[in-house]
Symmetry: C2
Subunit: 501 residues, 2 copies
Amino acid sequence: MAGYHDIKARRVGLDTHSEAIVLLHSGSAVCRSEGFAAHTRILLRASNHKVVATLFPVTSDIIGCDEAILSDSAWSRLDLKDGDTISIEHLDPVESLSLLRSRIFGHDLSENSFRAIIRDVVDGRYSSIHIASFLTACAAAPLSEKEILGLTRAMVDAGERLSWPEAIVVDKHSVGGLPGNRTTPIIVAIVTALGLTMPKTSSRAITSPAGTADMMETLAPVTLDAEAIRRVVKEEGGCIAWGGAVQLSPADDILIRVERALDLDTQGQMIASVMSKKIAAGATHLVLDMPVGRTAKVRTAQEAQELSHGLLVVAQAFGIKTRVLIGNGDQPVGRGIGPALEAQDVLAVLQCRPDAPADLRERATQLAGALLELAGVAPMDSGAALAMSVLNDGRAWRKFQRICEAQGGMRKPPVSAHKQSLHAQASGRIAEIDNRKIARLAKLAGAPEDKAAGVELLARIGQDIAAEQELCIIHAESPGELDYALAYAATHHDIFRIEST
Amino acid sequence: MAGYHDIKARRVGLDTHSEAIVLLHSGSAVCRSEGFAAHTRILLRASNHKVVATLFPVTSDIIGCDEAILSDSAWSRLDLKDGDTISIEHLDPVESLSLLRSRIFGHDLSENSFRAIIRDVVDGRYSSIHIASFLTACAAAPLSEKEILGLTRAMVDAGERLSWPEAIVVDKHSVGGLPGNRTTPIIVAIVTALGLTMPKTSSRAITSPAGTADMMETLAPVTLDAEAIRRVVKEEGGCIAWGGAVQLSPADDILIRVERALDLDTQGQMIASVMSKKIAAGATHLVLDMPVGRTAKVRTAQEAQELSHGLLVVAQAFGIKTRVLIGNGDQPVGRGIGPALEAQDVLAVLQCRPDAPADLRERATQLAGALLELAGVAPMDSGAALAMSVLNDGRAWRKFQRICEAQGGMRKPPVSAHKQSLHAQASGRIAEIDNRKIARLAKLAGAPEDKAAGVELLARIGQDIAAEQELCIIHAESPGELDYALAYAATHHDIFRIEST
């Protein structure tokens, strides 16, 4: 079918994350002739690119009859410049939706079926409605082991794949965001200082107060393309880059956003998500950090066992030597929560400062140790000690600085302009710290958009506390944001649970 | 929490159907302080109303830092006038999502659980992502009979309910849109001419080329509020009104849109959807028209039996005497497809014109006959004959005119400005007519927005056809739309399947 040509593309900075949205005047030739209505999925084409977008018609003159307002996501997928025109067409039926329906009605999907679905997801042919249905269908009748493998393979094949000349390429992943659990930069520094290759790509925060990429960005540039990553890794053996700049398992990024909106975590989906990223990154040896706690992502030991089993099955099928470390997830790790505050913790550990948070140091060296053992650099049960020695003698710190320089230059994390402490209402012992509420507090203070914002934790579980003693300091970049976080704290007295002693 | 006040509400005619969307400047105090990002669900308040909306931030100056652009749906739900201000707050967690999650993971829902979910759906607290997940969960593990009853009751209770002084109130519903199957106005005219009460509320098209309300609107006003409906029914015994103006089972309208986007029909959901509307409309006696055919909604006799059983179980639980008529759904009914063209068929049958489509006349009198028998007005097996006599002696036509007058005045359906015929490419016998493709053709020609647009069918299954004989005429209101339908026809030769004889 012919389609409508020469429609002026206009950008107004409409932020919809990855969702492609287009606004057209309801009186435009294309809307009238095609009978396009709200929510119609239509195909937009520019010279070399195409994207499927959801339409919303507009009746007012904020938009002309010969133009289209595109969301930023649609704009960048079409690689448009100001003044460019696009053409608009009907969308052919999305064939793989019949496979989705058959999954809903109880039939297992083959690898090829997952491939067709994931291809359509990556090409933007699925709206969030379809993605929500796919995720729900894969939760209502859990994915079989065979299906998890098929889905993982389909997700890997739908994106780019990094390959490395080295026989051993190590990687690390933390399942379930525990606030402040920022071991990655420390681990990379330790294992690369010992000659291992660790091309680490990390994510930015989606719903948390900071992702590793957000934190790392306060210390060095992280937006590296595949070529820059290869150069840094060749020079220094490792990097800590933002994964979004290279298209590793792009389906995962799309699925995760809808998963978060649904607040729906399913094991099969999570396994395919984690493993597809690691396979695409070219890892051969992998350590998985799995914190378990009442307010962590994985809540019980049994859940941890099941998830761990599923991850190991997939890892084995793809020939990745993997170890899962199940650890305590009852409270945040380190002191800082928020990009710059977490960076301070990382620096303190790397610089072996006396005030460095012991739990972060402990955790990072254990995970690094496990990687060293797995890769044959340290004998069993001696990896953590080796990691600690590399930290203590300054090699890790020197290596980290060189990596930062190679990524574009080391910098100082920003410091917040406004802060205020929260105090204990009564004396006693800290019995519980709610990870989710601490994260919320940090986000209300402005993290991760405001790099210096967040929460500085001054109390740990088991610690004895006097009435009026400081529990934490809230950091913000503006008084309004500080107030907002304080208002939340004033109505949520269960962020810290204090037992009278 | 306090929220942000005095934000100027602005309307630009943004049509999103029922979905509430709000655009805010990304640099506005509320976005910055609250960390609101794309897809955040936020609560908007005006003096007496509130609505939950999905946020998209905008960076350009098409929007000021102190204003909010609202979709028309959000605007009307807040009952705003130009110059009004709103306040914006964080949305508290939606409690019933935990019930949705438990349904996903295999637990049946109680009536109270459905009530909580449906209440949140109607209040706009569920985004389409959540609704898609709910529908998928109810399809992946089919609803039990008990659940269907619970869901039906919850849907009825979430809306308005009409009540009538008469002991017998009849109603009719057609399950699955067969193009042109416009029996409703004829049935209402027949049974009310015989003294029965039939306060019929019908829907507009969602994805079809015409709903009964769209068709009826070419003959008389259909946007009647509850008071107007009561008056018309008191005067004439019946009406043919648009259901959207009275809030009968409003959840149904919301769920159906997402269902259509997913192309997901599940029996339990469909039963609750149909029956909740009928119960809310106050029906005591009900006839269900169920066309079965390869390109109809219900495709096999077995499917029809199961669906029929489910509908009767719910009908009985709510004390509604119900009969299901399973009929042939192999091809469209009547000649016209599109609002005005279908109205012409209805008029031809009511006026007993010799060229009136026999199948529409047959179908309408059978359904009317079943209602007459069910309500005790005609003995068993004599209802259809009684209905036919009321049609033949002009009583139905006179009654129909009076109903139109009572609804605001009878009018003439518009006539299309442009038309062109499709011709048979070879001689033979018509073996199949694709309902879905005929509907698509009518929509491409402009139906239902353009009332006169659509398809006039000149061939029926079993008919012998000469090469180059006319198969149908496409009607459109502009040459461009006509061309578009013709282009579709040129690439889809299987709209009519002709067997050589």
